[in-house]
């Protein structure tokens, strides 16, 4: 087993064991929130990190899924129907989103996604017959997949963890697939990729769909977690928070969005209990990250570790060499 695999297995075991270690319901709920926002951030990372497209409208997609769940349930259908409808509905909306936004790139892309996100927010706010406006919609039950109740914090955490791991695997497969590699190509050299015969627009479109799908998954988890959806969840700050999670954690890495999500959720919900000016603190952390690790926390820490290793190797060449030799 390579150290990388060992680390992955250890990470999964830690995540499974986490509720037993924490014990308290409140912190298990926080952990669920970290995972569900991590899925959201992963979706944004597909676009930022691998396609080089910064979207400021993803909370809109996230919200569409949540509102579809709330409405389908309110109409009397079951959870399966609601979830399938939310996934399909959000994919269709994402396709529309992408068709408009992908006519451009760079700054224009950012502004178009921002505008689209604001349109969806505005609809959520004003289309009162569907969204109940500012007052939002309550969702009173959580689904029971295979007879397992998600009503308890631990049940919900376990379900979120499974979905989160599936999402991680899906993103890992995606970015290493020929399509994912081609996507990275369109990020670095779109014109060259075009000249080589790749359909740049279609590659980006598919990546956008995948990203929207992940937003839908996290939106569904969000509405079941909070049992409530209102326009605030779709507003620009929510989209921006997702982008910040990705940038703080490290765009173009699998772990970065997860670390970013943990950072934001913990400061917002745990640290805020002790520090009134937690917003300021979050801002200061972001500034510090940009100054000291502009590539994000995960790549930044990796760089630091490698630098220390190299420095150590310079100081104790023999010890280091023997340690390197003992590696499989």
């Amino acid at each position: 087993m390579t150290p990388r695999r060992a680390a992955i297995v250890a990470g999964i075991i830690v995540l499974i064991a986490l509720p037993f270690a924490i014990g308290e319901d409140y912190y298990i709920n926080i952990a669920s929130q970290i995972l569900l926002y991590a899925i959201f951030a992963l979706g944004i990372d597909v676009l930022i990190g691998y396609a080089g497209l910064v979207s400021l409208g993803h909370a809109g997609l996230f919200g569409i899924a949540a509102y579809i769940i709330a409405n389908v349930l309110a109409a009397g259908y079951g959870h399966t129907v609601a979830i399938v409808a939310a996934l399909i509905g959000t994919l269709i909306a994402t396709a529309g989103f992408a068709a408009v936004a992908l006519r451009s790139a760079g700054i224009t892309f950012i502004m178009i996604t921002l505008a689209l996100g604001e349109i969806i927010w505005g609809l959520a706010y004003r289309w009162i017959s569907v969204t109940n406006g500012d007052n939002g919609i309550s969702v009173t039950t959580r689904p029971m997949p295979f007879g397992l109740s998600l009503a308890s914090p631990r049940g919900f955490y376990d379900a979120t963890l499974i979905i989160f791991l599936l999402a991680m695997v899906a993103v890992a497969i995606f970015v290493h697939s020929p399509l994912g590699v081609a996507l990275a190509g369109t990020r670095d050299q779109p014109r060259r990729m075009n000249a080589l015969g790749y359909h740049v627009w279609m590659i980006r479109f598919l990546a956008f769909l995948f990203s929207g799908f992940l937003s839908a998954v996290s939106g569904i988890l969000f509405v079941y977690y909070n049992e409530f959806i209102s326009p605030q969840a779709l507003a620009l700050p929510a989209s921006a928070a997702g982008v910040l999670m990705v940038i703080a954690g490290g765009a173009g890495t699998l772990l970065g969005p997860v670390v970013g999500s943990a950072l934001v959720v913990i400061v917002q919900n745990v640290v805020s209990a002790y520090i009134t000016r937690w917003n300021l603190m979050l801002g200061a952390i972001f500034v510090a990250i940009v100054i000291f690790m502009p590539e994000g926390l995960v790549p930044g820490v990796r760089r630091l570790v490698q630098a220390t290793r190299r420095a150590a190797a310079r100081r104790w060449p023999r010890a280091m060499a023997s340690r390197l030799r003992s590696k499989p």
Partner: protein, 418 residues
């Protein structure tokens, strides 16, 4: 203020207090030794923070005055910042209930926050004394664990409608308010009561909550002899300035947020003559109010408004309810029943009691902004010109008739030709 420090000092204080209590009354001290845990959901960051901070100051003023005791028990106060969004409200409610194991929740501030935790507090049977004015939660879809000692959105606007029609003799009014539920419910109440007494609402304008400029909306104000605004937060300041600079002279009436006493120091001459209806008024001469105002000014040097007074009253209700329950809040149903049965005469807003849907019945004060009688270094002053006593959320309509119509909304009551 950092909560960690305050909790630590509190814990130390509690320990000393408990030790003292045990020394004096060794027998019944066991149940009494555990502090009563008072949780507050408020907003300390973002655009709603000004009101949210006043809420906390209202609570702390009461606790200091009572030396951190309620119903004979030491109080452990835990304040949580929701950030002014529903998901934050839910998480913080969970923090208070599951981690801190509070006995009662005060707050939250905004209606959408209350809606976000509405199901949760019912599941947890957690007595919640909110300031949020989401009308239906004490009307058509009541929450048995919610107690509202402040007011519904329309509770003050209905008397305002009556006063505007009968005393101010306004005939045709244009309503202007932010485009959200609190605004709809305020204007619904105003319109229903105003038209009942022969007035006519000719138009209702809904600018978005964050709009840099009200001029396009002010330009639509015409064909009327009065204006009713229902702005909240710091928006009344901007609206009144732009209204005056547009040269409009129609008299303006408003509800509890549009001329909040906490805004008086920031208003200028443009606010002279603004008539408002509010469940609390700073100039109330009764002793409990004078005491409250001097305490909060001593502690925080702020002019209190409706938010601070509302939370102070909530604390009085909790204190009285806990005393009624014999200091025992462990049985939530009994505790809630005790809270509901509270009726007080010595609050800063005058006497209050609750109806069977857990909403407050109390005075509504009609005030006019002038310079006469201004105190506390203020230039402007809300002077009470009329008091409606024992106003319920149903105003003068029978409860059945009131509840038969839909909740006040953007489209209800509809605009009619009159």
């Amino acid at each position: 203020m950092s909560r960690k420090v305050s909790r630590r000092t509190l814990l130390a204080g509690t320990a000393v207090g408990a030790a003292a209590a045990m020394a004096r009354f060794p027998a019944p001290a066991i149940a009494q030794a555990a502090p009563f845990k008072l949780g507050l959901l408020t907003v300390k960051t973002g655009p709603l923070a000004q009101g949210g901070i006043q809420m906390e100051q209202g609570v702390l003023t009461y606790l200091k005055e009572k030396n951190y005791t309620m119903g004979g028990r030491k109080v452990d106060f835990i304040s949580a910042d929701t950030g002014g969004n529903p998901a934050g409200a839910k998480t913080k409610a969970q923090e208070l209930v599951e981690r801190d194991k509070v006995d009662v929740i005060l707050g939250p501030l905004a209606a959408f926050e209350l809606y976000a935790i509405n199901e949760y507090v019912q599941q947890q049977k957690m007595p919640t004394l909110s300031l949020a004015a989401a009308d239906n939660l004490t009307q058509r879809t009541p929450n048995p664990y919610l107690l509202r000692a402040s007011a519904t959105s329309s509770q003050a606007m209905q008397p305002m409608g009556h006063y505007a029609a009968t005393e101010l003799k306004l005939k045709r009014v244009v309503c202007i308010v932010e485009d959200f539920a609190f605004g709809y419910e305020q204007m619904g109440g105003f319109q229903a009561a105003f038209q009942k007494d022969g007035g006519c609402v000719v138009n209702k304008l809904w600018p978005p909550i964050v709009t840099p400029d009200y001029t396009p909306y002010i330009a639509q104000i015409s064909g009327c002899d009065g204006v009713c605004q229902g702005f909240a937060g710091s928006n009344p300041l901007r609206f009144m300035k732009q209204y005056a600079s547009a040269g409009l002279k129609y008299p303006v009436v408003t509800g509890e947020t549009g001329a909040d006493d906490a805004l008086l120091k920031s208003f200028g001459d443009e606010a002279l003559g603004l008539v408002s209806a509010c469940p609390y008024t700073l100039d109330n001469p009764i002793e409990p109010n004078q005491r409250f105002v001097s305490e909060i000014m001593k502690n925080y040097s702020v002019i209190p408004g409706f938010y601070a007074a509302g939370l102070y009253v909530n604390c009085q209700v909790v204190d009285a309810g806990l005393t009624k329950a014999g200091g025992d809040a462990s049985d939530k149903e009994k505790f809630m029943a005790a809270l509901k049965s509270v009726s007080l005469t010595d609050t800063p807003r005058g006497p209050i009691k609750f109806d069977h849907l857990n909403n407050v019945i109390g005075n509504i004060y009609i005030r006019r902004i002038g310079t006469e009688g201004a105190k506390y270094g203020l230039k402007l002053w809300n002077k009470t010109i009329h008091t409606y006593t024992n106003v319920s959320q149903f105003w003068t309509w029978p409860e059945k008739e009131f509840l038969a119509h839909p909740v006040y909304s953007r489209n209800y009551p509809p605009l009619t030709k009159c």
